[in-house]
């Protein structure tokens, strides 16, 4: 077949994506979108894969309100990994079954065993599940980088703790394994090397930057959790730098780049810094149509610049 434009499909390790855009975990709820859409949102699903909100072994109620507010060119959040726990989470899988795109499950926890327990429970369920009762779950993203959990510790800031989580999860599944890195470190490649050394297949970055916003009347912390994670356009230049560093250090590793992507050109910048796929986060909050708009803009940019494929644009910023 003769193609009439750039090749948009990319291979994220063994996962074939129709195009490079996925949602950033915790910013896009498929069922909630579907409830507020006139057509069949599953048929019109704009992303190439679905990364749901992080699930943990036990249910978590999350942080006290307020949990979000806008900041200059960005926003801060401290949700605290609110989720129903893996068992209740598994119960809603049939509702996602008609999704054609692959699902990459975001997994959280405090200890390596908790991460592995989530994966083991899901693997056991999938092994026994009847056909047509679950979507195509093709991988996991290990969220070792949430800045808003009550322990105050980010596993991802400690390379050896990161390696322990990845190793425990590697034993629990043969599926594609991403480690999601925190930017709240001196050298993001250290945790990246630890994750890959322990069996991760790829890296996603960056999670949010630990930050603080004050109530400007009382001069007390605004968020119920005191601190939160900063995201949005404000962090994009730092995220690009970190993705480039990781891509340079691990050239053959699948990378999901993210941080403040609002337009197709922003996504292309992450690809140019070495990302295989690009996750859209805060932009999902700005308009219902943001995912499809950003995808169309990315396609237009690739075509206008004469790229034959997404792969051709990958790593442009890293070459002399």
């Amino acid at each position: 077949m003769i193609s009439d434009g750039p090749q948009h499909s990319v291979s994220l390790g063994p996962i074939l994506l129709d195009h490079p855009l996925v949602d950033a975990s915790g910013t896009f709820d498929l069922l909630e979108y579907s409830r507020r859409y006139d057509g069949d949102y599953f048929a019109d699903f704009p992303y190439a894969a679905y990364v749901p909100k992080t699930v943990t072994a036990d249910a978590r109620t999350g942080n006290p309100a307020p949990r979000v507010t806008e900041t200059p060119s960005g926003m801060i959040n401290a949700i605290g990994l609110e989720n129903p726990g893996i068992h209740a989470w598994i119960d809603q899988l049939p509702e996602w079954a008609s999704l054609r795109q692959p699902v990459i499950v975001s997994v959280g926890g405090n200890e390596p065993e908790q991460y592995a327990a989530v994966i083991a429970a899901l693997e056991a369920h999938l092994a026994a599940a009847a056909a047509g009762t679950a979507p195509r779950i093709e991988g996991y993203e290990l969220n070792v980088s949430c800045p808003n959990v009550s322990s105050g510790l980010q596993i991802g800031a400690d390379p050896s703790a990161t390696a322990e989580v990845v190793a425990a999860c590697r034993e629990a599944t043969d599926r594609f394994l991403l480690a999601k890195l925190t930017p709240n470190v001196r050298d993001v490649t250290e945790a990246g090397a630890a994750a890959l050394g322990a069996g991760a297949d790829g890296l996603s970055l960056v999670n949010t930057f630990k930050a603080m916003v004050l109530d400007r009347q009382t001069l007390k912390p605004f968020l119920g959790n005191r601190t939160g994670g900063l995201c949005g356009p404000a962090i994009k230049p730092i995220a690009l730098r970190m993705v480039a560093e990781v891509a340079q250090a691990f050239p053959d590793t699948p990378i999901v780049g993210m941080g403040g992507v609002m337009t197709g050109l922003d996504a292309l910048e992450f690809i140019a810094c070495g990302a295989t796929a690009v996750a859209v986060g805060a932009a999902n909050f700005t308009a219902f149509e943001a995912p499809s708009r950003i995808l169309q803009e990315l396609r237009d940019e690739l075509e206008a610049r004469g790229f034959a494929s997404v792969a051709e644009a990958r790593g442009m910023a890293l070459r002399a």
């Binding site: 915790g26 507020r36 960005g74 949005g232 805060a282 909050f285 700005t286």
Partner: protein
């Protein structure tokens, strides 16, 4: 009150696609602006208590602002906006002919079916959804009384935007209407048995109205305010404590039964 004798506040049509709307009219009341938008697809689906997410024009603000529907009729919706921060201030400065992006209607609505006597209790900008509710209740033949509380003369300017036949106003500084809070108005009213209470305002007011309602042996509904990011159920930013745990104001609310929330 059991589940059986109260209508649930869910299952209203929600629609999150963006409508590009033209401003058809603006009326200013001090720091408040009543903005009328041509939004046929929003107006057609809307019910009192629901809200819209409004993009702040000019591109300087990332997140949309949640604003409850002040009115909806024909192809028009009305919003009552208070200049509180940079984003809302810009929305009060909209002019006729300007364009603004709106997503909605979103969230749950005030149940009105079978209501014969209604008492609407509002505080500050929280009064906004009660005009649309009053219009709907009146159209359905209900007797409507409203009690609105404001902090001072400045915030009481908002009262000028409302047209409700039996509307009582209180200000904490005594500058307009009764001196005190809405509770002082409630204490002076002769409330018919079986009256349904509808409340919207800051959490301390909601808590006080809740106590008064239970003490009077009445039942009712409340629309809650919260800081939101997405407004469409994805971010879990706007949770509130309820009898069934933390729930999202944007998705499970903003309208709840008065007896299920702990504001």
């Amino acid at each position: 009150m059991s589940d059986a004798d109260a209508q649930t506040c869910g299952d209203h049509s929600q629609w999150a696609e963006t409508s590009h709307c033209r401003v058809a009219g603006v009326r200013h009341f001090g720091a408040f602006a009543a903005v009328e938008l041509i939004a046929p697809r929003v107006a057609r689906r809307a019910a009192p208590g629901q809200f819209v997410m409004v993009t702040v024009p000019g591109g300087g603000f990332l997140l949309r602002r949640p604003i409850s529907l002040f009115a909806a009729h024909g192809d028009r919706i009305g919003l009552l906006v208070e200049a509180r921060g940079g984003g809302s201030e810009q929305l009060t400065q909209l002019d006729v002919g300007d364009n603004v992006d709106v997503a909605g209607p979103l969230g749950s609505a005030f149940p009105t079916e079978g209501v014969t006597n209604a008492l609407l209790v509002g505080g500050g900008i929280g009064c906004a959804p009660l005009q649309y509710l009053a219009d709907q209740l009146a159209a359905e033949g209900a007797q409507v009384t409203a009690a609105f509380g404001f902090r001072d003369f400045r915030s009481a300017r908002a009262a000028g935007a409302f047209s409700i036949d039996r509307l009582w106003v209180a200000t904490e500084d005594g500058s307009v209407g009764k001196a005190g809070t809405v509770l002082h108005i409630l204490a002076s009213l002769d409330v018919a048995p079986g009256t349904t209470i509808y409340a919207c305002g800051p959490n301390p007011m909601v808590a006080a109205v809740q106590r008064w309602t239970f003490a009077e042996g009445l039942r009712g509904y409340v629309s809650l305010e919260a800081h939101m990011a997405c407004g469409t159920g994805s971010c879990h930013g706007c949770v509130v404590d309820t009898a069934r745990g933390k729930v999202r104001v944007c998705s499970e609310g903003p309208v709840f039964r008065l007896d299920e929330v702990t504001p």
